[in-house]
């Protein structure tokens, strides 16, 4: 399901002293089956942008299409359930939305809201809980007895259980320890590759944006300033720094290394293995770009 933004503007608290333009004429196309990262400074409009995709926010003007569904500014009530069934959204700190008595019931909440019968919902819940790697001994416990990382996995399972085609992640790894971070990111990588889910991820981590996604969108003060492949985006390091962002650590490392040896700057590389290859090339006296 392709998602497009046509001239989307969103103004918070219009016509009050608190008026603020959060999105300013955004045009964007997110291809079906892609992994898109949205990066930008705090308050640049990333979260506002993604909340438009499943109709939690309506644009002040402009149009968003998701498949053949349309979202635009209007007062009239629109049934957004078909949209939300196909587009799942994992909020920042999603563990705050848990409420049921048991983990499994909480995961079933989503599917049952969309009319999936109880037995089928339970089956899906079990599948999704295994998928996110929560051992079955926890399934019948209260979600509030779990650790923070486990609660987050339950919350993510709760979104996946609806079987969405598109999953939006708003800073999915905020506040997790390094191993928890890695597991969550690997999970989404796997979902993207094996189940062909379209994934849209809001992140502050340039490394994650570079290694995971095939498309990067850069936001600054409500405007979309760049979009392209990670290689294209992160080779524009000067522009990125101007808006308070940076390039992935692998590139910072290679840049300081080449500077030390008076070598020309290298083209972007994001993985540790790729970085090692570059260093090996440099040490063997060959060209920096292997």
């Amino acid at each position: 399901m392709d998602i497009t933004f046509h001239n989307v503007t969103h103004v918070y608290h219009p016509k009050t002293p608190f008026e603020r333009t959060a999105l300013d004429r955004i045009n964007l196309r997110i291809r079906s089956g892609s992994f898109t990262s949205i990066i930008g400074h705090t308050g640049s409009g990333k979260s506002t942008l993604v909340q438009h995709i499943n109709g939690l926010l309506r644009p002040t003007s402009g149009l968003i299409t998701a498949g053949d569904l349309k979202i635009q500014a209007q007062k009239k009530k629109q049934d957004l359930k078909p949209l939300r069934r196909k587009i799942g959204l994992v909020f920042q700190y999603p563990e705050h939305q848990l409420f049921e008595e048991t983990v499994i019931k909480d995961v079933c909440f989503g599917p049952m809201n969309f009319g999936v019968p109880s037995a089928e919902a339970t089956k899906r819940a079990e599948e999704c809980l295994s998928l996110v790697g929560l051992p079955s001994q926890f399934w019948h416990q209260s979600p509030f007895d779990l650790s923070g990382g486990q609660m987050r996995r339950v919350a993510i399972a709760g979104v996946l259980a609806v079987n969405p085609e598109v999953v939006i992640l708003d800073e999915p790894t905020a506040g997790l320890d390094p191993s928890g971070r890695k597991e969550i990111l690997n999970l989404f990588k796997k979902l993207h590759q094996e189940m062909n889910l379209t994934i849209i991820m809001v992140t502050h981590n340039m490394g994650d944006a570079a290694t995971l996604s095939d498309e990067v969108v850069v936001m600054d003060s409500g405007r979309l300033v760049m979009s392209g492949t990670p290689e294209q985006i992160f080779s524009r390091d000067r522009e990125l720094r101007k808006i308070g962002l940076d390039v992935p650590e692998t590139m910072l490392f290679l840049d300081s290394l080449t500077d030390k040896f008076d070598q020309p700057r290298m083209t972007p590389v994001f993985s540790l293995k790729g970085t090692a290859d570059r260093i090996a090339g440099l040490m063997n006296g060959g060209a920096a770009d292997v």
Partner: protein, 264 residues
């Protein structure tokens, strides 16, 4: 979705904003009392003029203020019509079916509606121009004498300050949880009453959990910074009574006298 203006603070720079919260609190309190002195056209117009003067000096956009008042319009209209239909006296103006409207009823309901409106405008003006912290500080200082008879004034003020401080936070939290559950297909706005009541549970449970957690964190953070109650506590922002505050109270006094003289 939460466009309630009452209780919101709009940080602007006007004479009213700069006034001491104590003088503002006393004035609003006085105003709420003297509003009941108004019993004829002249006194009611006087009240309206006073309100308009207040709004103009506060630099708050009247459109913003009145738009915020829309949310309580239903209460105002209800009062108006109840008084209109059920107050007798004077010549009969209108008679349709069981509805009989008398002249006195009409006048009475206009006066009462006006009374409610000016009270709401003035109290809203207080909160729009005074930050919650200033209001609680002012209250605490005003109520200080009660400490002599062992009323825990400081503790009450602290409770109030904390509640006011966390209203926006909790509203934000509520909005976030509503969105998170809506993204999972929960529907708060349509369906039967029973299904809507059921949709509240996924909202309330997370809200309570986070409120308790916040309270715990706050208590811990306060203790870590050495909070030990009222005794020996100093203030960062000392309240200063200036000439404009005395002037405000004098104006209120004048208004009171004018109302007494103009009433019948």
């Amino acid at each position: 979705m939460f466009n309630l203006v009452i209780g919101q603070y709009v940080p602007l720079d006007s004479v009213i904003h700069r006034m001491d919260p104590r003088s503002k609190l006393i004035s609003v309190f006085m105003f709420v009392v003297i509003v009941f002195l108004a019993n004829n056209w002249l006194t009611n117009v006087l009240l309206i003029l006073f309100c308009l003067g207040g709004i103009l000096t506060s630099k708050i956009s009247p459109a913003f203020l009145f738009r915020g008042l829309r949310s309580i319009l239903i209460i105002v209209l209800l009062t108006f019509f109840l008084n209109l239909f059920f107050t007798g006296g004077g010549p009969l103006l209108l008679h349709i079916g069981w509805v009989r409207i008398y002249q006195n009823g009409l006048i009475q309901s206009i006066f009462i509606t006006n009374r409610i409106l000016v009270i709401i405008v003035m109290t809203t003006l207080l909160t729009l121009t005074t930050s919650p912290m200033e209001i609680t500080d002012g209250m605490e200082t005003l109520l200080n004498p009660l400490k002599k008879i062992k009323v825990p004034v400081h503790e009450f003020a602290l409770m109030m300050a904390i509640s006011l401080r966390f209203i926006p936070t909790l509203l934000e939290e509520t909005e976030k949880i509503i969105k998170a559950q809506a993204a999972r297909g929960s529907d708060f706005t349509s369906g039967s009453l029973k299904s809507r009541m059921k949709a509240i549970v996924p909202l309330l449970v997370p809200l309570f959990v986070s409120a308790f957690k916040r309270a715990e964190d706050l208590a811990m953070a306060m203790e870590a910074r050495g909070y030990h109650g009222d005794f020996g506590r100093t203030r960062l922002h000392k309240l200063v009574w200036k000439r404009r505050d005395t002037l405000l109270l004098l104006t209120m006094g004048l208004l009171t006298v004018a109302l007494i003289l103009a009433r019948l």
